[in-house]
């Protein structure tokens, strides 16, 4: 590969830029409000790592539209994963629930990419140990297909048809300095 190639080009092609990510989140925020009757009893839980900033952005967006203060937290699913034995032990992320907890709430789980569905399966198990929500919904920025479990998202930023050889990466300003969704071949 020539030295002039920018790091972004090497990582893949941009399929969503910062503007498009912002619009997708705005639409999801409106959809959440619509489907939950104005955000009643809603708790947003971001799945570590990139679901967490997305959850905060959605909460802020909903706050702007309706002047609501939607409780927002984070969920680390590492200890509930089914592929733990395939890799060395991983460091844990933070699990932080809002003070009011999740009992009787409508919990919206938020993640960056929906792929096999195994992370969401682990999140559902983790959530069961934390309380008993009235219902659980799922919002993702990108749905790239290839599900291995019977799981679907309630809110999708963008449906992205991919091949399983491809890698989808979501970069966010909070964790990676810029907002972009990249698609590239595996190395």
């Amino acid at each position: 590969m020539c030295a002039a190639t920018s790091p972004a080009a090497r990582q893949g092609l941009a399929v969503l830029d910062a503007q498009e990510i912002r619009r997708a989140l705005t639409r999801i925020a409106h959809e959440i409000l619509e489907r939950t009757h104005g955000g009643e009893q809603v708790v947003l839980l971001g799945i570590q790592t990139r679901g967490v900033p997305l959850a905060r952005r959605l909460a802020a967006r909903i706050g702007e539209f309706e002047g609501l203060d939607i409780p927002c937290g984070s969920l680390d699913v590492t200890l509930h994963r089914d592929d733990l034995r395939l890799r060395p032990a991983r460091a844990l992320g933070k699990t932080e629930l809002p003070a009011e907890g999740v009992d009787g709430k409508t919990v919206v789980l938020i993640d960056d990419v929906l792929y096999s569905g195994r992370t969401v399966r682990a999140a559902l198990d983790a959530l069961t140990d934390l309380g008993r929500p009235r219902s659980v919904q799922l919002a993702v920025l990108v749905d790239r297909g290839h599900r291995e479990l019977p799981i679907r998202a309630d809110y999708v930023g963008k449906n992205l048809p991919t091949s399983q050889r491809e890698v989808v990466r979501v970069l966010l300003a909070e964790t990676d300095d810029s907002d972009v969704v990249l698609i590239g071949e595996t190395a």
Partner: protein, 318 residues
């Protein structure tokens, strides 16, 4: 991380911080209605205890059970050890039963290290003779960090600049050695205080300073850790009388008053109330003794998760 946890010296600063940070996340489990995680389902942890212990064995057992591992408890009393079976044969028996980790406490220094050469699973040292007790040091570091460097104080989260005084029987205490090694790795300044007869010869090579005068050290301490006088290991006269020891090296109410306002008092247990620590001190709000026990379960969960939670270690042929 290594495959085994034998000595606090094997832990790099980043290993130690990884364990403490993992424990920090696991600590919230204790406050939940369901104190159980599926992480180590199908893994077997054997508690191999050749020496009496209440808190360490129960603590390891609770930690393994909260992570859904199967636990087999073995104590030398009432086992084939009484018939003369050696450590190696016991180890091979446990291995054949499919132990993924062996937690060992033994009266011989180096027993855990020797065992690690015989079994395929991970070995965790839960105290070997007068050598080391690394998970005790980890839970002490965790307790100090939670009390004196709570989260959000920013940056990478070590114990830099914290002054720790460890007083008591350093010679027979494995807790002292592990603590000196781990706390200095994490950046704390450690001072040992003991009568000269209760200090090991090699103490000059340890990463700490030594003093014989508890009263002059207390005003400079953020943490004071009292060690038990291990009468069961003493087969000679190390000090004239218990009363004299207590008067010079025991922590009573008057001495506690010399500590800075924020300082905490620690003890790894079991305590000899009235010898190295006065009952009023042990029960005061500065004492973290009960907290240490609770933190012990959390820290041991972190250790078991990091040793057993991932893929089998590379180079380990099954």
């Amino acid at each position: 991380m290594n495959r085994h946890l034998i000595s606090a010296a094997d832990l790099s600063r980043s290993d130690a911080l990884l364990i403490l940070d993992t424990a920090e996340e696991l600590a919230s489990i204790a406050d939940r209605p369901i104190k159980k995680l599926p992480t180590l389902r199908g893994r077997t942890v054997v508690n191999l205890f050749y020496e009496d212990s209440t808190r360490t064995r129960i603590s390891f057992e609770a930690a393994a059970k909260r992570l859904s591992a199967d636990v087999i408890n073995f104590s030398a009393k009432g086992s084939s050890v009484a018939k003369g079976e050696g450590l190696k044969d016991t180890a091979l028996t446990l291995e054949a039963m499919g132990a993924d980790a062996v937690v060992i406490r033994h009266s011989a220094s180096g027993a855990a290290h020797t065992l690690a050469g015989w079994v395929k699973g991970s070995v965790v040292n839960a105290g070997d003779g007068t050598h080391e007790h690394p998970t005790q040091a980890l839970l002490d570091a965790f307790t100090i960090r939670r009390r004196l460097r709570p989260r959000g104080s920013g940056g990478e989260h070590g114990l830099d600049g914290i002054r720790v005084t460890i007083a008591g029987d350093v010679l027979h205490g494995r807790v002292a050695r592990s603590n000196v090694l781990l706390l200095s790795t994490l950046g704390a300044q450690v001072t040992l205080v003991a009568p000269p007869t209760l200090l090991p010869l090699a103490v000059g090579s340890w990463p700490c300073s030594v003093s014989y005068d508890l009263d002059s050290e207390l005003p400079k301490s953020d943490v004071v850790m009292m060690l038990r006088v291990q009468q069961e290991r003493m087969n000679a006269a190390y000090f004239p009388s218990v009363r004299e020891y207590s008067r010079r090296y025991g922590l009573d109410v008057a001495r506690m008053a010399k500590l800075p306002e924020h300082a905490i008092v620690m003890h790894p247990g079991p305590m000899n109330r009235g010898v190295e620590i006065a009952a009023e001190v042990a029960d005061s709000s500065r004492s973290t003794i009960v907290e240490q026990v609770a933190n012990g379960v959390t820290v041991r969960m972190a250790v078991l998760y990091l040793l057993l939670g991932g893929a089998d270690f590379p180079g380990v042929t099954q």
